[in-house]
């Protein structure tokens, strides 16, 4: 029993979703992550961000292995990450090595070859001042629909994810990455918003995080929901933009924690400086 079933949290509650068996076999094979890449814009309401055809594998910002085989999405076909796309992106959305690469900033940002024309069109629509770059406000405007605004903080987090910097402007290449990322987020959100309330509550969040490979305790779940709930804890549920932010935050912090937990023991040691340097980047204004 190789224990890759992410639905059974490991016995000692380790929490990374590795699900390795307690004694032996921990080194058996690399953990499989449900492909997480960061998905789609919010549910379409005649917006230019209707999901692009799923021919493009979604980007894998953290270079993780692809989705586990045989795991089919429940409801949506617009979940490109689960299709053959496989590691590093079937259709060229991958932009390999571009994430946080120090050289990315040296080369002009352009659309990768074969980019879906609808993505290019979206870029042009969003780039209202025609500057050739999309700034955070333009992106926010493009993502906000008539009934829901998209938080600027989430926009910043997305930009940070795909540029590795605090820049507030992105070019075509990063935009493409954000676009595909949002497609996947949309798919994930819709997949886990089981009661179709438009919000994710604690139990739905638990399942969503589990599918991304993260097992968090009920205490942490409650904390996440209360912190990300726009109504200040009244509805006890998270809306779409905060859901993205929540997942990216959990993901980011977990990855950082894991860097320090080289034994997979479930605990990590920090010096004061490394602790502060680990956490502070997440305090994105």
């Amino acid at each position: 029993m190789s224990g890759y079933n992410n639905n059974n949290p490991p016995p000692h509650g380790y929490g990374y979703g590795y699900a390795y068996t307690a004694g032996s076999g921990a080194g058996a094979a690399p953990p499989t992550y449900a492909a997480s890449p960061y998905g789609a814009p919010p549910p379409p309401t005649a917006s230019p961000y209707a999901p692009a055809p799923s021919a493009y594998g979604a980007p894998q910002p953290y270079s993780q292995p692809p989705s586990r085989p045989g795991d089919k999405p429940h409801k949506h076909e617009s979940a490109p990450s689960y299709h053959g796309g496989g590691g590093g992106g079937g259709g060229g959305g991958g932009g390999g090595g571009g994430y946080g690469s120090p050289f990315a900033a040296l080369v002009p940002s352009t659309f990768p070859p074969g980019t879906d024309p609808s993505v290019v069109a979206c870029f042009q629509i969003a780039d209202q001042d025609g500057s050739g770059l999309i700034d955070d406000k333009e992106l926010q405007r493009a993502l906000s629909s008539y009934n829901q605004s998209f938080s600027l903080r989430t926009v910043h987090l997305l930009m940070y994810t795909f540029t590795g910097t605090n820049t507030r402007k992105i070019g075509p290449k990063e935009f493409t990455q954000v676009f595909y990322s949002l497609q996947n987020w949309r798919a994930i959100f819709e997949r886990f918003d089981r009661d179709r309330s438009g919000r994710i509550d604690a139990s739905e969040l638990q399942e969503a995080l589990l599918s991304l490979g993260y097992t968090v305790s009920p205490v942490v779940l409650d904390l996440l929901v209360s912190k990300f709930d726009k109504t200040g804890g009244k509805s006890k549920a998270i809306e779409y933009d905060n859901f993205i932010e929540c997942c990216l935050t959990v993901k980011g912090l977990t990855e950082k924690f894991k860097e320090k937990d080289t034994n997979y023991s479930g605990s990590a040691n920090f010096t004061y400086e490394s602790f502060m340097l680990t956490v502070l980047p997440f305090l994105i204004a």
Partner: protein, 206 residues
């Protein structure tokens, strides 16, 4: 919960609980003004409690603090509340309010003392010294990271009062979390995955 209002004779419950913010039972019992609370703090509480329910919520606190010609972001308000209630509920009773009020007076003094050029902002080079005044020994690499975080425009870092408070609470709060888990022998702090998330998330997502 009507009736939780400061009275000239505070209930004896307050005296049963040490001022420690870590007491998990503090939130079960009515919060009251400690004996000897200055009247102006009591008045400030009553003034802030616009809906008269005996608690100050985040909006009430933001409204009150923002009148003194320094705007306060909701994020800073939440950080303040977390610091002084050690919970994630965004409500403060008289006791926590008093502690926060006193601290804010101290923060303000520190701010003014360190704002040497009196421009209403603390510059980066003033920040390191400010932290030291607050008993925080912040490594240079961390200061540089704070600079990156707060300075998006590329101009030199300057924190207005609101950002100053936010920055100080965050740095102080995280430092305290580190210390709680620090081993005196090694100087390293050990966190489990869960305690790491629980310690860090309230500051990351105020």
């Amino acid at each position: 919960m009507a009736g939780i209002v400061a009275s000239p004779n505070p209930t004896p419950f307050g005296s049963l609980f040490p001022g420690s913010n870590a007491n998990p039972f503090a939130s079960l019992l009515p919060s009251s003004f400690p004996p000897g609370t200055p009247q102006h703090i009591v008045d400030a509480f009553r003034y802030s409690d616009k809906d008269g329910n005996g608690f100050i919520d985040d909006q009430e606190l933001k409204a009150v603090l923002s009148t003194c010609n320094h705007g306060f972001s909701l994020r800073t308000i939440h950080l303040l509340m977390y610091s002084f209630t050690a919970t994630n509920t965004r409500l403060m009773g008289p006791k926590e309010f008093t502690q926060m009020f006193t601290s804010l007076q101290q923060w303000r003094d520190v701010f003014e003392k360190n704002d040497r050029d009196r421009n209403g902002k603390i510059e980066f080079h003033e920040l390191q010294q400010t932290f030291q005044t607050l008993g925080l020994n912040v490594p240079t690499a961390v200061l540089n990271l704070l600079l990156l975080k707060y300075d998006r425009t590329g101009k030199s870092l300057a924190l207005d009062y609101d950002k100053f408070i936010e920055c100080c609470i965050t740095v102080k709060g995280l430092t305290n979390k580190f210390k709680e888990n620090e081993s005196a022998a090694t100087g390293l702090a050990t966190f489990s995955y869960e305690s790491f998330l629980l310690s860090v998330l309230p500051f990351v997502v105020a």
